[in-house]
């Protein structure tokens, strides 16, 4: 999986074609989402209702927070398979910690999950092990830790309703749930961090060409450690918010979440080979995945199995399109 010279084609002759492919790659998912939402709201009376939209936004928000961290990791050319387990661990830790107050409920999962991410980053950056393998091991380890805390999944910790922590999941502001607000704020911060800061520049540089970035003096190791820590922190936070929303630390959550997050990021136009991507695309990717799910739920006769078939087929189409567009840009 070599770093590609995606940006290399800039300034050459076929500018218009290149720009069109770039636009399609960046905003194709958004167009698909708008068309899908439009068709769905005409086809089903139950789609464009306040309750349904709110439900859609709420269930999307947790995956979106995970996908935000995954975006940073993937832009550096890496991958984080541990987020599903870390999400589950974060939820359980938050629920367990809520008996000691809201602060513990929030900080405990962040501390533990952040530590896991930091270890991931250290192993990947310092010993040059493949991100795929390191985060796979972290996935097993985090799941093991979570099972350990919950007596092999037998104990479900309930979130203490007395603490303010519950409001992070169930609170509302201007009719919109707190997790949705938090997700919005995080994405705004993420977009600024990736586009407008030195750290963001380093993330792109490491993903574009690691050796070149090192030669230019970019702190490659530090950048990698930061993105994996960030990814685990966000996954842990998403787990904690989810626990606050459900008022319990559910142990069976998070299975396959890493795949959903990766899919959302890829659909959103971020290249898995690194060096190119943006956070708003990931948000659109999450919304697109969740809207498809939602529509399939509206069609009562289609069960969750069809949901997977449709998601898989859709993923194949998007991936082919993305690969094709990326190659066009490279050739142009």
């Amino acid at each position: 999986m070599s770093a590609s010279g995606v940006e290399a084609g800039r300034g050459s002759g076929v500018v218009r074609g290149e720009r069109l492919s770039a636009l399609a790659q960046q905003h194709g998912a958004l167009v698909a989402l708008l068309v899908l939402a439009l068709v769905a709201s005409f086809s089903f009376d139950s789609f464009a209702t306040g309750d349904n939209i709110e439900n859609l936004a709420m269930t999307s928000s947790f995956l979106a927070v995970v996908a935000l961290g995954m975006t940073f990791v993937i832009v550096t050319g890496g991958i984080d398979l541990s987020v599903g387990s870390v999400f589950a661990l974060g939820g359980v830790l938050a629920a367990w910690g809520s008996r000691y107050g809201a602060l513990v409920a929030l900080l405990l999962p962040l501390a533990v999950c952040g530590l896991i991410g930091c270890v991931n980053g250290l192993l990947i950056a310092r010993t040059r092990l493949a991100p795929f393998i390191v985060t796979l091991a972290a996935m097993l380890a985090a799941r093991g830790l979570m099972l350990n805390i919950t007596d092999e999944g037998a104990t479900t910790y309930l979130v203490d309703k007395e603490t303010v922590f519950v409001h992070l999941g169930q609170g509302r502001l201007l009719g919109v749930g707190a997790p949705v607000w938090i997700t919005g704020a995080l994405f705004l911060a993420g977009a600024v961090a990736l586009r407008r800061t030195r750290f963001g520049q380093n993330v792109y540089a490491v993903g574009g060409n690691e050796d070149a970035a090192a030669l230019m003096g970019a702190p490659v190791a530090r950048t990698k450690i930061t993105v994996y820590t960030l990814s685990a922190l966000l996954a842990g936070l998403a787990g904690a918010l989810n626990a606050a929303w459900l008022a319990s630390g559910v142990t069976i959550l998070g299975y396959g979440m890493e795949l959903d997050a990766i899919a959302a990021v890829v659909i959103g136009g971020t290249l898995l080979s690194g060096g190119l991507g943006f956070v708003s695309g990931s948000l659109v990717g999450v919304l697109l995945l969740k809207t498809i799910q939602n529509i399939i739920n509206q069609i009562g006769s289609l069960d969750s199995a069809y949901q997977q078939v449709v998601s898989g087929g859709f993923l194949v189409v998007v991936i082919i399109a993305q690969t094709w567009l990326a190659r066009r840009r490279r050739v142009a």
Binding site: L145, A305, Y306, Q308, S311, G312, L315, I319
Partner: protein, 321 residues
């Protein structure tokens, strides 16, 4: 690069020891675990126990063999667990026409998914992890659409395949061992095997040398699909039930672990079939040991994580330079 310098600086005997560990560490690990269990685990030295361990490891090994081929080309196949589920669904649906017809449909299912993976990877140019991820999601769905819930399997031929044996060696173990021998032969002695490793070493170089890169890649993913399908067939025979919801869940991770622990580098260009067999056995024995000594499954997962990291860390100097 720094690692090589470091290794050259080591005293000769220590460098040799490190190399020996890299090459034979996984076998040593299996032997150590065996000895530990013989000494400290009650009822370990029984035919029934050996049989249980071997039968449990057989399907994992069959999947891992295909995974080793994919990893040898610097690829990966995440769809194997879902292919097992598809295979168990197909098996249940076509068992009415006899077990051999059912086996045929199972193999066809594996070929189709493998072709889809291979086409995406070889012709469209999608990264293996992405292509097989998409197929993983879709194939599991397909399996569940075909067979929405668990179904018992009562076919006598299949049941005897799952539980029968030849002079004490279960059929499942024989089949897995035979497949391992075939894969080892293909990797070492055939043109296809050499081409596969050349592609894993450097795909551009293989292309320049005029190797049929696309054809080899497609064949590799078809092999992986078929082996996963056969593993699904064997698992169904062993469990005497078709359960597309849970069969093969996380199997891709077990298979990757066995391959990597067995010393096949993720960077491609090398396939260690013997190591893969030992890797699968090591994970199985580790799990069994921890459970027998009353450590819960959560500890097994933690231990597995540590073993993976250690194995890959030890193996990283073997990666291509």
């Amino acid at each position: 690069m720094a690692d090589v310098a470091l290794r050259n600086a080591l005293p000769a005997d220590r460098a040799a020891a490190v190399r020996w560990l890299q090459e034979y560490g996984v076998y040593a690990g299996v032997v150590v675990l065996l000895l530990f269990n013989v000494a400290f685990t009650d009822h370990f030295l029984s035919a029934a126990n050996f049989r249980t361990q071997a039968v449990q490891v057989a399907p994992v090994l069959v999947v891992a063999l295909g995974m080793a081929l994919a990893i040898g080309t610097e690829g990966i196949d995440l769809s194997v667990g879902s292919v097992m589920a598809l295979s168990t669904s197909l098996l249940s649906l076509y068992l009415g026409y006899g077990p051999w017809v059912a086996l045929l449909t199972v193999v066809v299912g594996g070929v189709v998914i493998g072709l889809a993976n291979g086409t995406l990877i070889a012709f469209v140019g999608v990264q293996p992890i992405v292509a097989t991820l998409a197929l993983m999601v879709g194939t599991r769905g397909l399996a569940l659409v075909m067979l929405p819930q668990l179904k018992d399997v009562r076919d006598p031929t299949l049941l005897s395949l799952g539980s029968g044996d030849v002079v004490g060696v279960p059929y499942l173990v024989l089949i897995a061992a035979a497949l391992a021998v075939v894969v080892a032969f293909v990797v070492r002695r055939t043109t296809f095997g050499r081409q596969l490793l050349a592609i894993g070493d450097s795909r551009p170089a293989a292309q320049l040398a005029g190797l049929p890169v696309r054809r080899v890649l497609i064949t590799v993913y078809v092999c992986s699909g078929v082996l996963a399908a056969v593993a699904g067939f064997l698992s169904t025979a062993r469990l005497s039930a078709s359960d597309p919801t849970s069969l093969g869940q996380l199997m891709e991770l077990s298979a990757i672990t066995a391959v990597v622990v067995g010393g096949t580098p993720l960077t491609g260009g090398r396939v260690r079939v013997g190591g893969t067999v030992a890797g699968a056995l090591l994970i199985q024995l580790l799990t069994a040991t921890l459970i027998k000594h009353d450590l819960s499954p959560s500890w097994t997962q933690l231990a597995q994580a540590v073993v993976i990291i250690l194995a890959v860390y030890a193996a990283r100097e073997r990666g291509k330079r």
